[in-house]
């Protein structure tokens, strides 16, 4: 078990390191360096020309005149040691403020979506497998396929249209007006939960459809295993047998799917938030990329990806707890 955990942990650290390289590469993507895009952006938004001394000072501050690997080192050290992600010229402050304000909401939505997926997918998947080729199975399979085929941003659009047209209110935002700018409080959190279900359902639907199919397939495999016959031959009732043995076995691969569902959820959250204009990471990432506010964008990409990888690691821990074969070896 410890060996397994140690290996997963090393993988996680390694992956995070790769992520940091990719995020740093994102900063380098636009033509010219950060200061040039900053200047052109400020110029475009009606600012006046900046004095050359100031430009030189900025370049030095970010180490832009140094070789790339030193720039990377400088960037990552600031993040690790000081939690400073670099100056954002859109918000005129360090990107940190925005990142730490928005990231928790993104992960609240992603985590709730994951929960939603599980709550929906496990019972439906079990039902579909246990009643293979029944009408219910076909109905769920069909709904599942539609869930897969309708991308989350389209579903967001359609729901938004319906609520706007028929309920006469835009389904935008995560907070009621009175809490939108209020500092965090329990009331605000509860208010958020009240608004959360719409994006959670939108983001979770695609994943739910996929997971139902995974659960169904896993369980169908397990239903034909000899240990099921053994249990049946003992006289265990069908229902109890189903939940005690095959479902238990099918859950193991199911848990490890968190690893590949989570990145999709986070990606879905980004795009759905842009459509619904939710105060989460999505719109900020999008906006900063559009305006080439690269420290902000890179910071978000780094943090969002890192947290996703940590989420995957947590699913590994869960697997250890769930599967005695890993726990005891």
């Amino acid at each position: 078990m410890w060996q397994y955990l140690a290996r997963r942990f090393v993988y996680m650290i390694f992956t995070i390191w790769i992520i940091s390289l990719v995020s740093f590469a994102v900063i380098q993507l636009p033509p010219g360096d950060y200061v040039t895009s900053m200047i052109s952006q400020m110029y475009a938004s009606g600012g006046q020309n900046m004095p050359p001394e100031y430009i030189a000072q900025l370049r030095e501050q970010y180490g832009l005149d140094q070789p790339l690997h030193l720039q990377y080192f400088k960037w990552i050290r600031k993040i690790v040691l000081h939690g400073e992600f670099g100056y954002s010229f859109i918000y005129r402050e360090d990107s940190r403020e925005m990142i730490f304000a928005r990231l928790p909401v993104t992960f609240a939505i992603s985590a709730f979506s994951m929960l939603f997926i599980w709550i929906m997918a496990i019972p439906i998947g079990v039902f579909s497998a246990a009643h293979q080729y029944s009408i219910g199975d076909y109905v769920f399979t069909f709904i599942g396929f539609i869930g897969l085929a309708v991308p989350s941003f389209l579903m967001a659009l359609i729901l938004m249209f319906i609520s706007y047209k028929y309920f006469d209110r835009a389904m935008i935002g995560l907070f009621s007006v009175e809490y939108a700018d209020a500092p965090w409080s329990i009331e605000k959190f509860i208010d958020m939960l009240k608004h959360l279900w719409i994006p959670v359902i939108i983001i979770g639907t695609g994943g739910t459809a996929g997971m139902i199919r995974t659960m169904r397939a896993n369980l169908l495999d397990e239903l034909n295993r000899p240990y099921v016959d053994t249990a049946r031959a003992k006289g265990v009732s069908e229902n109890r047998l189903l939940w005690k043995y095959p479902v238990r076995h099918a859950l193991n691969p199911f848990v490890s799917t968190i690893g590949w569902v989570l990145p999709g959820l986070v990606g879905g959250e980004v795009i759905v938030s842009v459509v619904l204009n939710l105060p989460t990471s999505g719109p900020v990432i999008f906006d900063s990329l559009m305006k080439q506010d690269m420290y902000m964008a890179a910071g978000f990409i780094l943090m969002v990806s890192t947290l996703t990888v940590i989420g995957t690691f947590i699913s590994d821990l869960l697997l250890v707890w769930l599967d005695p074969r890993i726990r005891l070896t």
Partner: protein
């Protein structure tokens, strides 16, 4: 007078697949005496496992008992017997579940996969006890440890909390046996329980099974394709070919004077230690496709003593001796005695 435990009459089990109907069990007649060991012998795919599964109503989809009777003579506590037709019990109903594990239990071929690796040995043994008897968990656990001891597992008090994947194949099969015996069944079905084990372990498990059969005075239905095993343990032998019992008698008769050409061929195909270096005689041909059964006698395409009528006439079960049934035209015409058991005609 034989004390009958289970009487199988004209059992028909079909698998309804997309490719067509597979007649896996096609008119089986079999009598299982109380407290004896009976071996069901046959090649792979002859329907012996399916027959055994039918007794517990645990045939897999898309298989189904089409017709026939399985009369189980259940002994009441007061000594009287009640006859239950197991074929009539719905597979998911309560009635058959009261039989499973308590009256008739079963051990399977693969000890590796027949136990759940996610649950401890103890959990799986105690499950049957708690299900069929009103005992406390603690009591059930005690019985579990006792059972593990009986099947020869060392340090059973520790092993009961172990997961099956930490045990060797032989140990797992012992645990399976302990599980099957947990409610003192009157009949134990062992479906090739030693096939997946190495030779030494095989012998140990066989000895254990025989020993326990005597101790518990239960009927043991032993399914195998290994005639060596049969010679070692059987009181009765039933030979099965393509979904039918082609010959049934006591072990001595089967080995000394086999009647059916198939039984004869089977016996010729196994090596004997005392045998001189003569060549083994494999049975000609292959088992036919399950979708297209031969007409007439199902064995005729491979039979060395085939007659013209064999491809048309389906032989009936013929009693050649008091306790010796054979299903072959060679004997049907010679013998005047015919059983009252009807035959199933085929298209």
């Amino acid at each position: 007078m034989v004390d009958t435990l289970l009487e199988v009459c004209d059992l028909l089990i079909h698998f309804f697949t997309d490719e067509g109907v597979v007649k896996a069990v096609d008119g089986v007649n079999l009598t299982i005496p109380r407290g004896k060991t009976i071996c069901l012998v046959g090649e792979s795919g002859c329907g012996k496992s399916v027959t055994a599964r039918a007794f517990l109503q645990i045939i897999r989809k898309p298989g189904r008992i089409v017709s026939g009777q399985m009369l189980y003579h259940q002994q009441r506590p007061d000594g009287s017997t009640e006859v239950i037709d197991l074929a009539k019990l719905p597979p998911k109903g309560d009635a058959i579940r009261k039989i499973r594990g308590r009256e008739i239990s079963m051990i399977f071929q693969e000890p590796m996969t027949s136990l759940s690796l996610m649950h401890t040995v103890g959990n799986q043994i105690m499950e049957a006890i708690l299900l069929h008897e009103k005992t406390s968990k603690l009591e059930a656990r005690k019985r579990g440890i006792d059972l593990l001891q009986r099947v020869g597992i060392p340090r059973p008090d520790r092993l009961i909390d172990e997961y099956p994947f930490r045990l060797s194949g032989g140990m797992r099969q012992r645990a399976m046996i302990a599980m099957a015996l947990s409610c003192n069944p009157t009949m134990l079905i062992a479906d090739e329980p030693t096939t997946a084990l190495d030779v030494t372990t095989q012998a140990q498990i066989l000895d254990l099974l025989l020993d326990l059969q005597q101790q518990y005075n239960m009927s043991l239905l032993f399914i195998t394709h290994d005639l060596g095993v049969v010679a070692e343990i059987a009181d009765e032998v039933a030979v099965m070919y393509l979904g039918r019992i082609v010959e049934q008698s006591d072990a001595v008769t089967i080995f000394n004077s086999p009647k059916h050409p198939y039984t004869q061929a089977l016996l010729k195909s196994i090596p004997k230690v005392a045998m001189k270096r003569e060549e083994l005689a494999p049975i000609k041909g292959m088992v036919p496709s399950p979708f297209r059964r031969p007409t007439g006698c199902v064995f005729h395409p491979r039979c060395s003593q085939r007659m013209n009528e064999c491809s048309q006439t389906d032989p009936m079960a013929t009693q050649v001796d008091a306790n010796h049934m054979v299903r072959c035209l060679l004997y049907q015409n010679a013998s005047a005695v015919k059983t009252n058991v009807g035959t199933v005609t085929h298209d």
